[in-house]
């Protein structure tokens, strides 16, 4: 019946698939990672960068759990910037330009060195079902592979359709075939599905660009790594360049609007509002006479340059005309044109919080198939799906991270609770407990969980414990020690402090930084204390009031999360609930009362009614037993 057999099968070796396969294999399960082209594992389809606000948080969390994206992004990184440092530490977020080719190679090397993990080049054409469960996959060459659990991470490949001006053709990425058979198989499985759209800008040849006219955007003097495990100093090897569009370009776009598949009606899929194409920006913000463009090299060994901000599906001749009107790009040669791609996604309300589908057991979805966008969002889901596929195979309870545990928890909860109508991207504003979900404490929040799952190596775990104890002991010293008020640090700054003030009270002043006190010798820190450790300690002190306030809110949510809703609850039979709300609850099947409160359109009054019924049910059960 079956030709081969694995505990876990992962379909697609993009950012989600790599994390999923790595996690399942590390958890001791034989894992096969299927890709249509083994040379393009972890291909960055769009911009050559990892991280950014909120996305950098995701990468930190993936790393803290024992995932691999952070390590790869650090090693393949060629320019590093910590964003948002003018804001508070909760929203500082790392971002790095990546060498795309190096990224692929490093990822492949790491996967190949992972025991239990097998890379397979083949096209998967269908998911095999039996008794409402996914039991394996079928390949284009006819082989049937049995799987304890199957993770689908197909990105934009499911019935992918590329648009460039009036031309359209099926493809998964430009130059790669789409997954049509698998796409149709999934369409036929009865899920609620739809079409989304995303786009990418043209890539230019750096030899034909006059960089002298642009504003350089260099990396940070001291790069911040993604991974807690990256110890070696990182190096900036390239520079990015900032420029802007102008009204001549906007005129060209307006003149050619009828030829844009976005506006001619040719594209039906919904695109992301926060990553609009250049034609979208010109139409929707007609009053702006320029839009920012950032030129980002795609690597150190290539001339290819990514034109960030110019994502477009306009015809190639229009793309050329636009570029010719931009100072410095007048004679730029286009290596690849920009394009838009439409693809199938499955409404993520079809999923449980474990990312297993509600309709079919042992089947997990992660990444763009769930309606998200972004490498980081994909990787985060891949990690969760891979872990849960492994746990399912082992017969263990799933891993469900709460919204208070991290951005990964928020990502999954938003998807399975609310579904999505446009490609979903992470923002810090989605995090109601943003102050607590910082990059400096991602390890404290998640590494113990990763360790328990078997994702965190001994070496990683020891380093984690060492860092936590460094922080704890220094924090204790900071809490109890007093400083010398006559130290030059205070006198030279004209700071009026009491005699022998507590270090902690000094740190409460916004202008005084712990790192500075250490550097100036006011406080002698233990050897081995790192920049990141200092940040964690300082944040805990400076923002104690806000953090405490947030902790109270978190407690509320924890309580509501612990009120679980039985899976077989019949909402339609619940007196007092409007039909509309009963349908919403039936569709989402929230696992906890807390999740129910987050379903759009579910009112506080209906939550009361739900609670009534849960309580009645509990009383009936209790009485029934006694």
């Amino acid at each position: 019946m079956f030709d081969e057999q694995y505990d876990v099968v992962v379909i697609g070796a993009g950012h989600a698939g790599c994390e999923a396969a790595s996690a399942a294999a590390k958890m001791g399960l034989s894992t096969a990672l299927y890709t249509m082209n083994a040379d393009l594992i972890a291909q960055m389809s769009c911009n050559p960068a990892v991280g950014g606000v909120a996305k950098g948080h995701l990468v930190r969390e993936i790393d803290a759990l024992g995932g691999i994206m952070g390590v790869v992004a650090d090693e393949a990184g060629i320019q590093f910037r910590l964003l948002n440092t003018s804001r508070g530490p909760a929203v500082w977020s790392p971002r790095a330009q990546e060498d795309k080719a190096a990224y692929r190679q490093i990822m492949r090397r790491i996967l190949e060195r992972t025991p239990n993990l097998f890379i397979k080049q083949a096209e998967v054409v269908s998911i095999l079902l039996a008794d409402g469960q996914a039991v394996g996959i079928e390949l284009l060459d006819g082989r049937r592979v049995r799987a304890g659990a199957t993770v689908v991470t197909t990105g934009t490949f499911l019935n992918g359709l590329i648009h460039i001006g009036e031309r359209q053709f099926t493809a998964g990425r430009n130059g790669e075939p789409a997954s049509v058979s698998l796409g149709n198989c999934i369409r036929d499985m009865g899920f609620e599905w739809g079409r989304l759209k995303t786009g990418t800008p043209p890539r230019l040849d750096s030899r034909t660009i006059d960089f002298g006219v642009f504003e350089p955007q260099p990396g940070d003097e001291t790069p911040t790594p993604f991974s807690f495990r990256t110890i070696r100093p990182l190096e900036n090897r390239i520079c990015c360049y900032i420029t802007h569009t102008n009204t001549r370009i906007h005129d060209i776009i307006n003149r050619n609007m009828a030829r844009s598949p976005l506006y001619s009606g040719q594209i039906q899929g919904i695109g992301p509002r926060y990553c609009p194409s250049i034609e979208d920006k010109v139409v929707k913000f007609a009053d702006k006479d320029r839009h920012q463009i950032v030129l980002e090299p795609e690597g150190v060994d290539t001339h290819e340059v990514y034109v960030n901000g110019m994502s477009t599906s306009l015809p190639i001749d229009v793309q050329r005309e636009m570029l010719s009107q931009m100072r410095g790009l007048e004679s730029a040669d286009m290596i690849r044109p920009g394009y838009a791609i439409e693809y199938d996604f499955v409404q993520p309300t079809e999923l449980r919080s474990s990312l297993e589908t509600k309709k079919y057991e042992r089947l997990f979805f992660a990444g763009q198939i769930n309606g998200t966008t972004g490498y980081e969002e994909a990787a985060a889901q891949g990690l969760i799906a891979g872990v849960n596929a492994a746990l399912k195979t082992k017969g263990a309870d799933p891993l469900v991270l709460g919204r208070q545990d991290g951005y990964i928890g928020i990502l999954v909860d938003d998807l399975v609770t609310k579904g999505t109508s446009e490609p979903y991207r992470m923002f810090t504003s989605r995090a109601e407990f943003r102050l607590n979900l910082r990059i400096d404490n991602a390890d404290a929040r998640l590494t113990p969980t990763g360790r328990r799952l078997g994702l965190v190596s001994d070496e990683h775990w020891e380093a984690h414990r060492a860092r936590q104890s460094r922080i704890a002991s220094t924090r204790q010293r900071v809490d109890t020690e007093k400083v010398n008020a006559s130290h030059e640090f205070f006198t030279s700054r004209g700071l009026d402090v009491r005699e022998r003030p507590a270090l902690k009270s000094v740190l409460l002043r916004p202008e005084i930084r712990l790192a500075e006190l250490i550097r100036e010798g006011v406080f002698v820190a233990d050897a081995g204390l790192r920049r990141e450790d200092i940040l964690s300690i300082e944040t805990g002190i400076k923002y104690a009031g806000y953090l405490k306030q947030q902790e109270r809110e978190i407690e509320k949510v924890r309580k509501a999360e612990s009120r679980l809703i039985p899976e077989d609850l019949d909402y339609s039979a619940m007196s007092g609930l409007s039909r509309e709300i009963a349908e919403k609850l039936t569709r989402t099947r929230p696992r906890s009362v807390a999740q129910a409160t987050r379903i759009p359109g579910v009112t506080p009054a209906s939550i009361s009614i739900l609670l009534f019924h849960l309580e009645l049910r509990r009383n009936q059960r209790r009485n029934g037993v006694s």
């Binding site: 606000v53 948002n84 804001r87 508070g88 929203v91 609009p276 923002f427 504003s429 007196s575 807390a594």
Partner: protein, 458 residues
């Protein structure tokens, strides 16, 4: 945080609310339920420091500063034998809404939380004290006691309220979107966050909320009923008129007479108009006492009245006493009735003040419909005059104050250069208070606002 979440998680809190329908009755009942109930009562009511379960203690309820608020009767119902199944303290106080509010405020200050609508009943259901059908019946019963017209008036007012809240909320969401964009789209070439402009917006919003909270006084009158005092010299038939008005097929909400003020007060809904009749017992019983005392008491009663009902005896000519009563009401809205229309009329109504007097007979009921119609006009006039939006209960008032406090805190934070993601906590706090008022939950519309306002995305 959404109020929905509070319903789940607030189960261990101690909650307090006025439990008699708003403003109806000479006696108001305040209920405190939860683990702190007995402790809160003991703090504000010295006689409650040692009491027997299910027996009542009487004493002066004081606020945190030790000021006596009212002479009350309090009863402790220990769990599980109480309405909610938790420790419950019931406090019977005089029906004056202001006093009831202040007692509630004192309990809030001691750690209780304002109960949401239906929360006592919900706890009763949750603790197995009541089933859902019973709970619904109780709500229907309470609802049925509010006259139709008053309910409509209240709804209109609340509609006006949400019309007034909406622009405030709208500007607040805009401000939040601006802050969020500054945090989430740092690389996006947006204008930098203008803290001076943000501070001006916060100040303006604070002023709007302040003027909204000042409408609380009027809203309370409407919700609590118009206070109507019956005046007249002895034996003109005040008491029989009073009894006639409240006695027949009316929705009598309570029939407990006041105990400390010698004022008998009844809440009636006539043609849906909530009216609180106060028959001054003092005047009633002064027929054989020094007249000045009666007048003094009438003056007292008038200071708290919205409308005076002057009763004259149609079977006798106007005399000095009548003139004195009429002089008392010169400054206040009043209705003059000429009683005893069943007898021969000997009164001469030539003065301008009494030309529109209503002739009626408390004995036969003749003329009563005309009086009722006049009451209806009185309320209509009252509603036309004041602002269209008003806060009508303590929950709304507390929400507006809460929003105000949160925005003030945000303003302070701004001035201290607090990072925007922290200031945002205060802004969201303010928004969630406003959401309590409009009954809406916090949704995704912040991001919608960001995307429509700013051109983001590289």
């Amino acid at each position: 945080m959404s109020s929905a979440l509070d319903r789940v998680t607030g189960m261990d809190d101690t909650i307090v609310a006025i439990s008699t329908p708003y403003g109806r009755g000479a006696i108001g009942l305040i209920r405190i339920s939860g683990p702190l109930a007995a402790r809160i009562a003991a703090k504000h009511l010295p006689t409650a420091r040692s009491w027997m379960p299910r027996s009542s203690v009487r004493g002066l309820w004081t606020d945190a500063e030790g000021n006596a608020l009212d002479d009350v009767l309090a009863t402790l119902y220990p769990q599980p034998h109480s309405y909610t199944g938790e420790d419950v303290v019931e406090i019977s106080a005089h029906g004056n809404p202001l006093i009831l509010e202040r007692i509630v405020e004192s309990a809030l200050a001691s750690g209780a939380r304002q109960a949401g609508p239906g929360e006592f009943t919900w706890r009763a259901v949750a603790n197995g004290k009541m089933d859902l059908l019973q709970a619904e019946a109780i709500r229907d019963f309470i609802d049925a006691q509010t006259g139709h017209q008053a309910r409509v008036a209240l709804q209109q007012m609340e509609g006006g309220l949400s019309r007034r809240i909406r622009p405030i909320k709208d500007r607040l969401i805009d401000l939040i979107a601006t802050f969020e964009a500054a945090v989430d789209f740092v690389d996006d070439d947006l204008e930098t966050l203008n803290t001076a402009a943000a501070a001006r917006i916060l100040e303006a919003l604070g002023a709007d909320l302040e003027s909204l909270s000042e409408t609380y006084g009027f809203g309370r009158i409407l919700a609590g009923g118009l206070r109507l005092v019956i005046l007249g010299k002895p034996n003109v038939g005040k008491s029989s008129l009073f009894n006639r008005i409240i006695g027949q097929d009316r929705a009598i909400v309570t029939d407990i007479p006041g105990t400390t003020r010698d004022v008998v007060s009844e809440m009636v809904a006539i043609q849906g108009v909530p009216l609180r009749f106060c028959d001054t017992a003092g005047i009633r019983s002064t027929s054989d006492q020094v007249e000045e005392i009666g007048v003094a008491r009438a003056v007292d009663a008038l200071t708290e009245a919205d409308v005076a009902l002057v009763v004259l005896d149609g079977s006798a000519p106007l005399d000095e006493e009548d003139a004195r009563v009429l002089a008392l009401v010169r400054e206040i809205q009043h209705v003059v009735v000429v009683n005893k229309s069943d007898l021969d009329e000997r009164i001469e109504l030539d003065g301008e003040k009494i030309s529109c007097a209503i002739r009626l007979s408390a004995k036969t009921g003749e003329g009563l419909p005309e009086l009722e119609a006049r009451f209806g006009e009185l309320l209509a006039n009252r509603i036309e005059g004041p602002p269209e939006a008003a806060l009508t209960n303590a929950r709304q008032y507390e929400a507006v104050r809460g929003a105000r406090a949160a925005l003030d805190h945000a303003l302070q934070a701004l001035k201290q250069n607090t990072p925007p993601e922290m200031t945002l906590m205060d802004l969201y706090g303010g928004l969630s208070h406003l959401n309590v008022l409009t009954g809406e939950a916090l949704t995704d519309d912040i991001l919608d606002r960001v995307f429509s306002k700013f051109c983001v995305g590289k």
